[in-house]
C-alpha cells in the first residue's frame, strides 16, 4: 500500500471521506451544470473577504462612509479585499441567475425536484437581500437612497413592514440593523437553505440532460476537483477586476435628494418604479418571486425535452428579455424622484 493510500484510508476511517465518492453523471462537470457549485465558491469568497472587511468597517451612520473611504485610500490590502468582495458579489448574483435559467430551461425543477426549486427561489431572494444590504452599508448616496426605498416599501406594508422602518427601535440605528442582517441574519438563512438545497440535490441526484441518456457516472470527488479548477478561475477573475476596476464609493449621503440609480440587478424594477412609484417596485418584485415559486405548479408535465415545452420556454424567454429590456430602459432614461425629494 502506498503512503498516499495509507493516509487516505486513515483519514477515511476517521472522517468518513468515502461518503463523498457517490456517483454523479459526467455532465455535472460542464459549466452549465456547475453554476450552482461556482455560486457556492463565490459565497465562500464573499464570507472570507467579508470577515476581513468587518475588521475595518464601522457600522454607525456617522462613521460608516468614512470607514469605507479610508479602506479604499488605505495603503494596506483591505482595498483589494473590498474589490474582491464587490466583484465576487456581482459574479455570484450572475451565476445564481444563470443557474436558475439552466434549471428552468432543462426542466430540472420537475417532479420530484419541486421542493428544491422553491428552496432555490429562497436562495435567490437571500442572495438579492445580501446584495441589497451590502449596497446600503457603503452609506453613500446610492446606499442611502436604496435604504430609503426599502423603508418606503416597509411603510407601504404597514405592520408587515414595520421591521424595515427606523421606528422599529429607537435605540439602534437602522444602518446597524442592516449590518446585522448582512453579516448574521441573511448568512444564517443562506446556510440553512444551502443545507436543504444540497441535501435534496444528493437525494434526487443531478438531473439528466433533456433528451439524452445519463451516461457515464464519476465519483463526486472528481466533481469537487473540477469545481476547484473553476474556483481558481473565479478567484483569478475577481482579483484582477478588484485591482483594475476597484469599486467606487460616493460621499456621505445627503437626505432629501434622489440622484442615483440602483445597481444592475434592481434596474428592471426601477423601470416599474418610474411608472407607478414605490408600489410599482413592491408589486413587480413580489409578482416576479410569486411567479418563480409557481413555476413547478404551472408546468407539471413530466416532459423535459425543449421540443415538448416550446410555449413554456418561449414564455420564460419573453419574461427574461422583458426584464433585460426594462433594465436597459431604466439605465438609459433619467430617474424620477420617488421618495423624499
Amino acid at each position: 500500500m502506498s503512503t498516499r493510500n495509507g493516509v487516505w484510508r486513515a483519514l477515511d476511517e476517521r472522517l468518513g471521506l468515502s461518503d463523498f465518492t457517490y456517483p454523479v453523471p459526467r455532465h455535472a462537470n460542464t459549466v452549465a451544470y456547475s453554476l450552482g457549485g461556482i455560486s457556492l465558491i463565490g459565497f465562500i469568497v464573499l464570507i472570507l473577504s467579508g470577515i476581513v472587511l468587518a475588521q475595518y468597517y464601522h457600522p454607525m451612520p456617522q462613521f460608516a462612509n468614512d470607514s469605507v473611504r479610508t479602506m479604499m485610500q488605505g495603503i494596506r490590502f483591505e482595498r483589494f479585499v473590498r474589490g474582491v468582495h464587490y466583484w465576487a458579489a456581482q459574479v455570484v448574483v450572475l451565476t445564481v441567475l444563470l443557474h436558475m435559467i439552466r434549471v428552468f430551461s432543462t426542466g430540472a425543477f420537475k417532479k420530484p425536484r419541486e421542493a428544491n426549486w422553491i428552496i432555490g427561489v429562497g436562495l435567490l431572494a437571500t442572495t438579492i437581500g445580501l446584495f441589497f444590504s451590502g449596497t446600503v452599508l457603503k452609506w453613500d448616496q446610492e446606499g442611502f437612497e436604496a435604504l430609503e426605498h426599502n423603508i418606503a416599501i416597509g411603510e407601504l406594508l404597514g405592520r408587515l413592514g414595520y421591521w424595515f422602518t427606523p421606528g422599529f427601535t429607537e435605540n439602534v440605528s437602522i444602518l446597524l440593523r442592516v449590518y446585522i442582517a448582512h453579516v448574521s441574519i441573511l448568512p444564517s438563512l443562506l446556510l440553512l437553505l444551502l443545507v436543504g438545497h444540497f441535501w435534496l440535490v444528493k437525494k434526487h441526484g443531478i438531473s439528466a440532460r433533456p433528451g439524452r441518456p445519463v451516461g457515464e457516472m464519476l465519483p463526486f470527488t472528481v466533481h469537487l476537483k473540477h469545481l476547484a479548477k473553476y474556483a481558481l478561475v473565479l478567484l483569478g477573475i475577481v482579483l484582477v477586476l478588484g485591482v483594475l476596476l476597484p469599486p467606487a464609493v460616493g460621499p456621505a449621503p445627503v437626505e432629501g435628494i434622489e440622484v442615483t440609480k440602483p445597481p444592475w440587478p434592481f434596474l428592471p424594477l426601477f423601470a416599474f418604479e418610474n411608472w407607478v412609484g414605490v408600489p410599482g417596485l413592491f408589486w413587480a418584485s413580489t409578482g416576479l418571486f410569486v411567479l418563480l415559486l409557481l413555476v413547478p405548479f404551472l408546468d407539471r408535465s413530466p416532459e423535459v425535452a425543449p421540443a415538448t415545452r416550446r410555449v413554456r420556454l418561449a414564455s420564460g424567454l419573453i419574461l427574461l428579455l422583458a426584464l433585460v429590456g426594462l433594465g436597459l430602459l431604466a439605465l438609459l432614461t433619467p430617474g424620477a424622484v420617488h421618495v423624499g425629494g
Partner: protein, 186 residues
C-alpha cells in the same frame, strides 16, 4: 390554472398596481426643506454627484435665498453660484456652493431615512466616541470629500503583485480545465 382564472389573476394584479400606484407614490414625495443650510447642502450634493441636474440645484438655491432660516449659509455666495449656473460654469458653481456652507463644517451623515438629519450647528458637540462631530476643512478637502471616490490602478508594487497573482490563478484554472476537457465534455 384555467384560462378564466388566469385572466382574473392578471386583472387583480393590474387593479393592485393601478389602485395603489399613483396615490401612494405621490404620498411619498415630500416638500423641500425650509432652512437654507439643508437646501444648499442638497444642492452641493446634487452638483457633486450629478451635475446634469441643474434644474433641481437651481430650485434649491433660489429657495435658500428666500429662506426665513438662513443660518450657517453665506447667501452672497449662493447668489454667485446661481449666476455661475446661468453661465453654465458648473465647476465654479460647485466651488461657490461648497464655500457657502463652509462655516458650518462638513455635514454629519444623516442618522437614517425617516430620522431627523443631523442639522448643522456652528459648534456641534463632540460625539459619544469623543471625536468632534464636525471639523473645519479647507475648501479643497471639503470638495474632495463631497465627490465620489474612484481609486484607479496606479501600477504600484502591491497592486502589481495582486494583479499577477490573479492572472496566475486565472491562467492555472483555465489550463487545468483545458487539460481535463475530456471530463467536461461528456
Amino acid at each position: 390554472m384555467g384560462g378564466k382564472a388566469r385572466w382574473v389573476a392578471a386583472g387583480l394584479v393590474i387593479a393592485g398596481l393601478v389602485g395603489l400606484g399613483p396615490g401612494s407614490a405621490l404620498a411619498h414625495k415630500g416638500k423641500l426643506p425650509e432652512d437654507a443650510l439643508t437646501l444648499v447642502r442638497q444642492a452641493a450634493a446634487l452638483l457633486a454627484q450629478n451635475p446634469a441636474m441643474t434644474g433641481e440645484v437651481r430650485e434649491r438655491l433660489q429657495l435658500a435665498l428666500k429662506s426665513k432660516k438662513p443660518a450657517g449659509v453665506h447667501l452672497d455666495q449662493v447668489a454667485e453660484a446661481l449666476r455661475a449656473l446661468d453661465n453654465k460654469d458648473i465647476g465654479a458653481a460647485r466651488r461657490l456652493v461648497t464655500a457657502a456652507i463652509m462655516p458650518a463644517g462638513m455635514p454629519m451623515p444623516p442618522e437614517g431615512p425617516g430620522r431627523p438629519a443631523a442639522q448643522a450647528k456652528v459648534a456641534p458637540p463632540p460625539s459619544l466616541a469623543g471625536q468632534p462631530a464636525a471639523v473645519q476643512l479647507s475648501l479643497e478637502t471639503a470638495m474632495k470629500m463631497a465627490a465620489p471616490l474612484r481609486v484607479r490602478f496606479t501600477g504600484s508594487r502591491t497592486e502589481t503583485s495582486v494583479l499577477v497573482t490573479g492572472l496566475a490563478f486565472l491562467g492555472l484554472g483555465l489550463f487545468l480545465l483545458g487539460r481535463s476537457r475530456r471530463a467536461v465534455q461528456p
